[in-house]
Amino acid sequence: MKGTHANLSKEFITTSDKTDWHNDALWFLRAKRDKQRDTIEDWEKLRSTAAAIKDHTLSRLADYLQTFEENALQNGMQVHWAWDDAELREITASILRENNARSVVKSKSMLTEECGLNPYLEKEGFDVVDTDLGERIVQLRKEHPSHIVVPAIHLKKEEVSDTFHEKMQTEKGNADPGYLTAAAREALRKDFIKADAAITGVNFGVAESGAVVVCTNEGNADMGVHSKKTVIHCMGLEKLVPGYKELAVFTRLLARSATGQPVTVFTSHYRKPRPDVKQHIIIVNNKRTDIYTDPEFRQAMRCIRCGACMNTCPVYRRSGGHSYHHTVPGPIGSVLAPFYGKEKNKDLPFASTLCGSCNNVCPVKIDLAGLLYKWRQKLTDETSADTSKKMSMQVGSSILKSHKKYGMVTTAFRWVPKSLLQSKFNPWNSKGEDGKKARVFPEVPGETFRQWYKKRQK
């Protein structure tokens, strides 16, 4: 299959010179995260507490959602419920139409990415400008984010320079990050002034106050929210926390886990609309209840989208986010993706060595490797099988179950010439693009342990 993780990652590794650079860039974030971890004495306790808070909140999710809605309404917010991606798109478009808004500035939101909001709004004739720098870059290039926190991490500054030159007429070849950022900033300021409405994502919804909390490093959410008369916050229904006491646990964990900052530059609390402002919160399901009602996978709903599992994942770092062909890449993405299409995402739970590093960095202690293992068992039942893999497993399992067959294979194995075992017919002997050997099968010893042991007994 063409678009599988195995093929897309191979392409990233062999046809671009980016693998090592990408690996180092993400590892830099992991190392920064480790440094921040060390500044908090009770780090592990903080993680356990966060997991427990999320589990508690999820166990009473309906109650907390209702409390949240009541409080938000009382504050003068308008609350909408979107069952799926289509409803989110339609509700958003109708709010914009009702308020005669034709252009929108948007702060970062993986939820709207997941729901395909931008292409829909554009098709409906709205202008949408992503205002997070990384997201703006991928938007200009008509790409998708390759990471949920650092969306343009797959791009080198030279590529950004080319894109900006083409779309914003910056100097050709000038790849100075300061210059490019200033150019983007200047262009975005104009977009902020021009736009009719602002859309934001949501990091946390506080049930006890009905407020939404948005964390950014660029202040771009605030610039939209504070200057527009029509404001829409799009929130996944798993974003709730009971109150501010609980929120504090997550604001301590989020930026430390994500980028190794003690806290994001801006942590904005939006509780009450200013006079004359119509402020909306759209609470979105889009299959979250499917995850919620599956007892094995419910813990995936704890996720606060920090991206730490991506930064640490040795596979993600080397294969790039786009190789996961799903909105959310990396370990948590591979856990979520099959809920959005088992057949098309059946390869993703296998795009992991199950090394478990993701489990250990996850601030809400999701057993990511365990859930990937579970998906593997389910997907081989519930999707069309890879026939050659299934057959080799069937043959393998029957040999390893029967002493008679195992003995026969032991003998036969020793008849196979080394040249054949180390040839291209053995898939173990991987080759690089240049045709050079990349991994060689070991030499088969004349005697097995079992044979040696038998002799030793005599």
């Binding site: 191979k10 489990n359 593997r376 342990f449």
Partner: protein
């Protein structure tokens, strides 16, 4: 103490010396060792590929062995972790599960290290295999903020002359990952090659680990890239008596 030795399929077939060395090390520390003839495989190759269901019946010889021996020991953290976390977990109690041990863990926790005697005067790089580290808690993984310990380093400190190097990113996965090694060969080999570079920068002659599967993958990469580094399973180091070259 009666120990049942489980030699995993790929060690039996490809690295019999690791089985022999494990047997001799266990005898050295005073155990009576019986080789478990019946179990051939823990089922992990199928289970990690999504075919746990094909390993029904694999548990039987292990359950039988657990009734006959005090401990079931194996020189593979990955197989041990599969037995205790998957194959046997739903079938036996905690106490019984704790009698299934990986070699290093068994030496460290059960027999003690006093009787270990070996010598291997070389610079050896430690690769911290994932399932041993994060599955069996043989040491502290770099992600967690917990007081440092390493059962592997303690066990290897009994080997005379051995200069152990724990290079940066020692606990990053080598890229083996079972059928991942073949189905995702490009990433797998890239990870192995990066591991090789790290070890090579640390200037080691040998790379060791608790798992022959990681080492088989690394050996394949070393060979393809003509690296002079060699692989040695921990059991081989613990049973070495030589000063330099007689280990092959």
């Amino acid at each position: 103490m009666l120990v049942g030795l489980f030699v995993p399929c790929y060690i039996d077939q490809l690295y019999p010396k690791v089985g022999k060395d494990t047997l001799e090390v266990l005898e050295k520390v005073g155990c009576t060792v019986v080789f478990l003839q019946d179990p051939l495989c823990c089922g992990q190759p199928m289970a990690n590929s999504g075919y746990e269901k094909m390993t029904r019946g694999y548990e039987k010889p292990f359950l039988k062995a657990l009734q006959e021996v005090d401990y079931l020991v194996t020189p593979s953290a990955s197989c041990s972790s599969h037995l205790t976390h998957h194959l046997l977990k739903p079938l036996v109690g905690k106490e019984e599960l704790s009698r299934v041990r990986e070699l290093t863990e068994f030496l460290h926790d059960v027999t003690g290290l006093e009787k270990l005697k070996a010598s291997f005067p070389h610079k050896v790089g430690l690769h911290l295999s994932c399932h041993g580290l994060r599955g069996l808690n043989l040491g502290t993984p770099s992600e967690l903020k917990v007081p440092h310990y390493s059962k592997i380093e303690e066990v290897l400190s009994t080997v005379d002359g051995l200069e152990l190097v724990v290079p940066p990113k020692a606990d990053e996965c080598c890229g083996f990952g079972g059928s991942f090694a073949v189905s995702e060969a490009a990433v797998s080999v890239k990870m192995g090659s990066d591991k090789m570079k790290g070890m090579s920068m640390a200037g080691v002659e040998y790379v060791t680990a608790t798992d022959m599967s990681c080492l088989m993958h690394l050996e394949g990469v070393f060979q393809a890239e003509n690296s002079p580094m060699k692989i040695m399973h921990i059991a081989e180091l613990l049973n070495s008596e030589e000063g330099g070259s007689g280990n092959q």
